[in-house]
Amino acid sequence: MKTLWNRTFTWIDERVQLSDVMHFLEKKSVPVHSHSVWYYFGGVSLFLFIIQVVTGILLLLYYKGSEELAFESIQFIMAKVEFGWLIRSIHSWAANLFILSAFIHMFSVLFEKAYRKPRELTWLSGMILLFLGMGFGFSGYLLPWNEVSFFATKVGTDIAGVLPVVGEPLMVFLRGGEDVTGATLSRFFGFHVAVLPGIFTVVLGLHLLLVQRQGMSKPLSYERLPATDQKTMPFFPNFMLRDLLLWLLVLNLLAILAVFFPWELGVKADQFAPAPAGIKPEWYFMFMFQTLKYIPGELWFLEGEVVGILLFSLAGVVWMFIPFWDKKSSRGEENRFINYIGLFALIYIIILTTIGWLS
C-alpha cells in the first residue's frame, strides 16, 4: 500500500514538482498564542463555502429558475428527490453559518490588527468576499419564490431604490423592471449561480494566495516576545489536522441542524397578495433594516431612509479601508481606537439584530 502511495507521489512529483509544495508546507508554521483559536474561522468559512458549492451544484440538477416552476421545483426537491431535503437544508444552513463564520473571522482580524501592513490587500479581499457572501444570501433568498422571500426582496430592492441618483436605475437593474417579478427571479438566479460565484472564486483565490504567501499574522503582543518565546506549530500536519477536526465538528452541526430544523419552504409567492405581517430580511441584514426603521422620515433636508443608507455606505467604506488609515497599527503600536470602533460595531450589530428578530 505504502509502495503504491510512494509510486503515485513520485509519478506526480516528476511532472509537477509536488515535493516543492510539500517542502513549503513543511516549512510553513503557525504562531501559537492565547488567541490562536481565531485562526480557524478562515478555514471554517472556506469549508462552508465548499459545502455551498457542492450542495448548490446538486440543487441545480433539479431547481428551475422561473416564476411558475421555482417553488414547485424546491417542493419536488424536498419531497421527491432522494436526500433532496438534506441537500437543501444543508445549503440553507451552511449559507447562514458561512456569513456568521465570515463575520467572526472579520472581527477577529480587526481586533488582532491582522490587517496591518503588509496584509492590507488580504483584508480588502476578505471584505469583498464578505460583501459577495451577503450578495449570495440576498440573491439566494428569493430563489424558492415563496411569500416571505418575495416580499423581503421587494423591501430590500425598495431600500436600494431610495439612494440618490443611482438608486432608481440600480433598483430597476436588480429587479429587471419596475417591480419584483419573474424577471427578478431569473436575474437573481443568474447572479447566484454564475456572476457571484465567478467573481467570488477569483477574489477567494487571491485571498488564499495572499494568506499562503504572507503566512499567518502575528498579534502585536506576540511579536514583542523574544524569538525564543514565540511558540509555533507546523502548518502541516498540525494546523491542517486541527482545521480538519473543526470541519468535522461543523459538518456534524450542519447535519443536526438540517435534520432537526429543516429549512421551511413556506407558501408560494403571490404578487397580487398583500404583504404578510412581519416581513424580515435575513438576519445579517437585520441590523441595517432595524436602524432604518428607527430613523425619522425626514432628517435635515433629506429623506431619513436616504440618510441611513448613505451613513451605512460611508461606514462600510471607512471600515473597508481601515488598514489604509490605521497607520499606528502598521507601525506596530497599540491602537485602542480601532478596538473601540470594533466593539461598538459588534455590540450595535448584536443588539439591533436581536431587537429586529424579536420584534
Binding site: Q75, W85, P237, N238, L241, L245, N252, A255, V259, L265
Partner: protein, 494 residues
C-alpha cells in the same frame, strides 16, 4: 308616457300647496272653484271629492293666485303669486310644502301621516333624475293622482291595496317606458302577480294580501340589488315574515306562521342571513316573487334543481321519481323538509336512527331498497373513516416538519369523492354510488401511503443522523488522537 294629465295636475296641487292663510273660511270664498265649476271641467269636479278640499284647501293653495276675487286678471296675475300648472319637481315641492311641515300637518291638522315622505322618495329609485335630467322620475301625482286625492284606505284611491298593482304597472308594465331606465327589469310583474296566491286574492277583493307596496315599500322603494332594500335577498325573508309570521294575520288563511323561524334555522337561512351568502336562496327563489305560490308536489325537484341541478337530475331519472309521484309525495321535501332544511349529513342515509330511507324501506318489506340504503351508508361511513385517517396521517407528517404539500393537495380528491357520493345517493343506484366511493377509497389509500412514507422518512432521518453523527464523531475523535500522537512524537523528536 305622460305620467299625469297636466290639467288634472294643475288643479290637484291645490290640495297640497295649502297656504295657511288660505285655509278655513277661504274655501267659502274660493272664486277659482266657483268659476271652474260652472265650466264643469274635470279638475274642479274631482276636487270636490278631494281630501284636501274637505280639509279647507283651495285651488290657490297649490296653484297660487288670489281665490278671493272674481277678477280673473287679478286672481291669476303674477302679482297674486299665480303659478299656473306646476311642472316637474315643482309638483312634489308643492306637496311637500305642507306634507313635510310638522306645523301644518301635526299642529293644524293633527295628522299622523309621516313627514319624511318627500325625503324618502328623493332617496328612492324613483327619486333619481328622469331621462330629461331636469326632474325626478316620479312625482307625488304619479301614484296619488291629482284633484281627486283620497286616503289610501279609500277604495277609489289609486294607492289602495286593491288598486296599487294597476297603479304601479302603469309604468312598470310599459316596456317602452321602462327600457329608458332599466332595460333588464322585467315588465311582466303584473301578469305574474295575477297568477300568484297574493294576486288572486287581491283580485277577489282581499286588501290584506300582499301587493307591490307590501314588499317593496312605498315612498322608500329601492332596487332589489340595493342591500338597504327590503326585497334585497338578505332582507326578503324578514319582509315576507312581516305577514307570514303574524299568526293572527295568517289565521284566516289557515297556513302556518313559523316558516321564517324554520328558514332561519335551515342551512339556507344560516348561509343567507348569517353568512350573507347571496348564493343561498331566499323565499322568492323557491316560491317565486311576483308570482309567489307554493311549488307543486311534482315540481319540487325542479325548483330545488335550479341550484342542486345534479341531485335533481339524478332523482328525476331514478326509480324514486315515479314512486314519489304516484304516492303524491313532494320530491326533495319528503326527505329534506322544506323551510327547515338542515345540512344533508350522511346520517340521513341508511336504515339506522335518523336515516330517512327506513321510513319506507323496512327490513322485512321492500327489502331491496333497505339493503341498498344500508350498503350505501356503510360505504359512506368507510369513506369518511378513510378520509379522517388520511388527514390524521398528513397532519402528523406535517407536524414532524415533513414536506407533504402534494399529499395535502390530494386530500381534496377524497373530499370531492365524499361530496360526490352525497350527490350520487340521489340516483339510488348502488353501482353509481360505489364507483365514486371506490375512487375516494383509492385517493385515500394513496394519500395515506404518502403520508405514512413521510412519517417513516422522518424516523429514517433521525436514525440516519444518529449514525452519520456517530461516524463523524468517531472520525473526529480518531483525528484528535492522531494529532495528540503526532505532536507527542514531534516533542520527543526534538
Amino acid at each position: 308616457m305622460a305620467l299625469v294629465n297636466n290639467n288634472a295636475l294643475a288643479i290637484v296641487l291645490c290640495s297640497v300647496l295649502a297656504l295657511p292663510t288660505a285655509f278655513g273660511t277661504a274655501q267659502a270664498q274660493d272664486q277659482c272653484l266657483t268659476c271652474h265649476s260652472t265650466l264643469e271641467d274635470n279638475a274642479s269636479t274631482a276636487f270636490k271629492g278631494d281630501i284636501h278640499f274637505r280639509n279647507g284647501l283651495t285651488c290657490a293653495s297649490c296653484h297660487g293666485g288670489d281665490s278671493h276675487t272674481d277678477d280673473m286678471e287679478k286672481a291669476m296675475g303674477t302679482a297674486a303669486g299665480f303659478i299656473g300648472v306646476p311642472k316637474g319637481d315643482r309638483i312634489s315641492v308643492a306637496c311637500a310644502k305642507c306634507h313635510s311641515d310638522a306645523g301644518v300637518m301635526v299642529k293644524k291638522y293633527n295628522s299622523a301621516i309621516p313627514l319624511d315622505q318627500m325625503e324618502l322618495v328623493e332617496g328612492s329609485v324613483h327619486g333619481k333624475l328622469s331621462t330629461s335630467g331636469r326632474e325626478h322620475i316620479a312625482q307625488c301625482t304619479s301614484c296619488h293622482g291629482a284633484h281627486g286625492i283620497v286616503t289610501k284606505t279609500n277604495r277609489s284611491s289609486p294607492v289602495h291595496p286593491l288598486n296599487l298593482p294597476a297603479t304601479c304597472t302603469k309604468c312598470h308594465s310599459d316596456a317602452t317606458f321602462m327600457r329608458t331606465y332599466n332595460p333588464s327589469l322585467p315588465v311582466d310583474q303584473l301578469e305574474k302577480y295575477k297568477t300568484s296566491v297574493h294576486g288572486k286574492r287581491n283580485k277577489n277583493g282581499d286588501p290584506k294580501t300582499a301587493e307591490c307596496a307590501s314588499c317593496h315599500g312605498s315612498h322608500e322603494i329601492l332596487s332589489a340589488k340595493d342591500p338597504r332594500s327590503q326585497v334585497h335577498p338578505t332582507k326578503l325573508p324578514a319582509t315576507c315574515a312581516k305577514c307570514h309570521s303574524d299568526a293572527t294575520y295568517m289565521k284566516p288563511y289557515g297556513i302556518a306562521s313559523d316558516q321564517f323561524e324554520q328558514f332561519a334555522r335551515s342551512v339556507h337561512g344560516q348561509a343567507l342571513l348569517e353568512k350573507k351568502d347571496l348564493g343561498a336562496p331566499a323565499c322568492n327563489d323557491c316560491h317565486g316573487n311576483h308570482g309567489a305560490a307554493p311549488p307543486g308536489v311534482e315540481s319540487v325537484s325542479k325548483v330545488c334543481g335550479t341550484c342542486h341541478a345534479l341531485n335533481a337530475e339524478l332523482f328525476s331519472s331514478s326509480p324514486h321519481k315515479k314512486a314519489f309521484d304516484s304516492r303524491k309525495l313532494p320530491e326533495c321535501e319528503t326527505c329534506h323538509g322544506n323551510h327547515e332544511i338542515v345540512a344533508a349529513k350522511d346520517e340521513l342515509l341508511g336504515v339506522g336512527e335518523g336515516a330517512v330511507c327506513a321510513w319506507c324501506h323496512k327490513e322485512n318489506s321492500n327489502i331491496k331498497g333497505y339493503q341498498i340504503a344500508r350498503t350505501m351508508r356503510s360505504l359512506a361511513d368507510s369513506l369518511i373513516a378513510s378520509e379522517e385517517n388520511a388527514i390524521m396521517l398528513v397532519d402528523e407528517a406535517e407536524q414532524k416538519g415533513m414536506e407533504v404539500g402534494e399529499a395535502k393537495f390530494k386530500l381534496r380528491e377524497i373530499r370531492q369523492a365524499r361530496l360526490e357520493t352525497r350527490t350520487k345517493v340521489h340516483s339510488f343506484d348502488l353501482d353509481q354510488f360505489s364507483e365514486v366511493a371506490t375512487r375516494g377509497f383509492g385517493s385515500a389509500a394513496k394519500v395515506s401511503t404518502e403520508a405514512s412514507q413521510a412519517i417513516d422518512q422522518y424516523y429514517f432521518r433521525r436514525w440516519g443522523l444518529f449514525i452519520a453523527s456517530l461516524i463523524i464523531t468517531i472520525l473526529a475523535f480518531a483525528l484528535y488522537i492522531s494529532i495528540r500522537r503526532i505532536e507527542k512524537e514531534q516533542v520527543q523528536n526534538r
